[in-house]
Symmetry: C3
Subunit: 338 residues, 3 copies
């Protein structure tokens, strides 16, 4: 049993994990299902929340977390099959992953896309190698196409804050200095669909989410509107989820940097005034006054700190879930769904 | 309750912490007041003693320490208010600090000064942001103006070694290849004042400590002499505390590198011979034969290893103190002083 | 008591450690002889297996492991005596090692050779400084001349797989893009000698192991053949241990990179076909299709993952052994051999 993408699990299993996370937050004892076990957290990119939350969650479940920075305190890893390895990768994941599996009871991987070729990036070669070669459960700590622990924390935050069913969730594209990955926007709309919200995606022409994401939303029964009319999008919104991402049709290209373009897309008070007193959400880290104005992120409906706090509780629920699938003979009944 | 600077706490509270550290060193069981809690140790600069001592102290108190290297395994942080974040900082401390507060029961920060503008550096923007935004106790792991855990370890070392009251403590400026911060010399003279020693500062003309430090020494009732006459300074000294720091009036400029200048200021046997068999102290790391001659640091009165060992015990006492102020309803009576 | 090189310990002590490692692997409770203690794992070079295995082994024995990256999260260290430290090393091991000894009950060091001057490298200045200045046991996590925890894991793997006595062990030199250290080949042939195997070293002319290694093999009573005839070497081999290393007589020079040379030395199916269905071994990380063909390392006799897994169990046995020599009054009887 792995935890790679939200779409790999039934809504019932995901709801079970969110409910467990809420219970842990409210003081339910998670026990120590990973007592004495190693948990290997592998990072090909930097991290603040994910690294800290999963380390502490693992430790609180009794495990010994080990953080490995591929390319930092350890070397770069090859993921392609059959290559002559005379380049800059000193080891193949075909060895590294089973080896780490022999030390650790659960492995996590953060692996951002290269940002050059979407057809290659969307195959998520490093995560695919972890899936293929690991002999223990693997949890995705953010890949090219998804950030499931973020999506679950987002869902949990929405569930804690409003009665989401039928409410209006707006994924609001925002400016940035880089062409960012689509992992978070994908997981955010999936979370909204799981919470049974009506989804609007407000983005500049050309910045559509991948067709695979749209198909998944459809399979979850979600209604999705896509528009570049920010007025219409913000109107009556219950949740504004801001996020920047790169253009798929011109992959890797940075968006316009002029202030007219920025002003149209930065989430500010004027736009928020059109909403139904909407919650403001963002996964963090966020570039203030570029993605969102200070007054909005510091305002009374901002949920960004609650989302981040919930990363700890969802991490614990995800690790507990994975631990239960491998160590217990009495697995939670929900497991039959997955 | 934070632990940012020695001057923020009464001499009684500081004495209590030093006494606790001595007790822990002698085998007193510190218990596990941080059992199951995260402790986040944030470093904007490298560390050996502080990182290791606080990690192990936290773990011995039951906590799960997490070491974060801002700019390394996580990104650079913005601390200025109201800026358009389109530069090299991917996150604002206004988010990062409360987020880490939601994972961790205590946060530590090491943040050296930039070394370009003292008026800006002395405001300690990163530490100020931690103070402002943290919802848990913050401990200063060395900032632009102070290194309180070093100061307490220094005081503890002096107290273990001599009866300090009324004895002569000399802060001996020393040569270096860089213009170093004033955190350690500030904390060292504060420690000497707390130990009720008479203080002499021997430094080249222009290398005075900041006026704020001198004012704090005065408020502690200390007598302080400042001189560039090394003969007079070393004469009858009971403690020689060597340390290099940069010139305040020409901030960021490296001191002269010629051997005549070095010879005048490097702590050597000839100078030590003038003392009252003085203890030799330094916070480490130390550049041998530049700051201090091998024969002195390896000599019988050198206390540098004892100072460093005491970092573990003072770290434990500081963390215990901060844990007590937040987790216990029966706080130590000393807390009323702070 | 340290664990620096296999030759520092009697075969009986080494056999005891391997037997303990096998027992731990089979479920023997190792207890928590390091409960509450720090274990400092110092790396001057990157690591995957060693870092993870020793961290988790230490934690499973009750310790708090701290990983320090000299030159990364801490600064570079000087090891030479008497120098004027005005270069790029900010601290001398003469301080750093005793200081870490005051925080930690066991210290480990990984320190690769510089690869410029063998006469200097073989003195292993950093490891020698740890040996000289540590006041707690030191374990070598790979130095210029040996990788003892790898050697023990190799011996353990051989012992688990075949009855090694009198069987043919071939150390098979392999091509690489760099002139690699001799630590692993040294430890591998020492492991084979301890397992009482007959040793053949197949290498290009000029790529001999150091005379000190050959002398150690002789002192262990091993028969050793050295050849550049790969046909003769592989014939009837029971173990093929592939490894690249640099030429001693032209130290630091990379081997020829043409495909004719590579084809002669890369371990492939054609060569393996000449063996007695030999086990294939390598310490990892390995460059596939340069050192060894995919079909061999992925083949049924490949033991590379088992070797790597055994690193955890031997690490635990080594740390237990070192802990026993310092913390227990009833040391294992085997200790009298060491």
């Amino acid at each position: 049993m792995n935890f790679l993408h939200l779409k790999d699990h039934s809504p019932e299993v995901l709801q079970y994990i969110v409910d467990e996370a809420i219970a842990f937050k409210q003081g339910k004892n998670a026990g120590t299902p990973l007592a004495g076990k190693g948990v290997g957290l592998c990072f090909m990119n930097p991290s603040l929340r994910t690294q800290t939350a999963f380390s502490i969650a693992a430790a609180q479940l009794g495990a010994h977390p080990v953080v490995l920075n591929f390319g930092g305190n350890t070397w770069k890893m090859e993921s392609r099959d059959g290559v002559l390895m005379d380049g800059d990768c000193a080891e193949h994941l075909k060895e590294a992953v089973p080896v780490l599996s022999s030390y650790c009871s659960i492995l996590g991987l953060r692996s951002f896309p290269d940002g050059k070729n979407w057809e290659e990036d969307k195959l998520e070669p490093a995560l695919a190698a972890f899936k293929k070669y690991a002999t223990v459960p693997v949890v995705n700590l953010e890949s090219a196409t998804g950030h499931p622990s973020q999506g679950l924390a987002d869902w949990m935050t929405i569930q804690e804050s409003i009665k989401p069913k039928g409410k209006k969730f707006v994924l609001a594209w925002a400016p940035h200095t880089k062409a960012l990955p689509m992992a978070v926007p994908n997981s955010a709309v999936e979370a909204a669909a799981l919470a049974k919200m009506n989804i609007t995606i407000a983005r500049p022409e050309g910045y559509d989410l991948p067709p695979e994401t749209m198909a998944h939303l459809q399979s979850l029964g979600a209604t999705v509107e896509v528009t570049s009319d920010t007025d219409a999008a913000y109107k009556n919104a219950d949740v504004i989820y801001a996020k920047s991402w790169g253009e798929l049709s011109s992959y890797g290209t940075v968006c316009p940097q002029d202030s007219a373009f920025r002003n149209k897309w930065t989430v500010d008070e004027a736009k928020m005034a059109k909403t139904n007193d909407a919650l403001f959400m963002h996964c963090l880290p966020v570039r203030r006054n570029l993605v969102v104005a200070d007054s909005v992120i510091d305002g009374p409906t901002s949920k960004v700190l609650q989302q981040a706090e919930n990363r700890l509780h969802t991490a614990k629920a995800m690790l507990s879930f994975l631990a239960a699938t491998r160590t217990s003979s009495t697995t939670p009944s929900e497991l039959s769904y997955a």
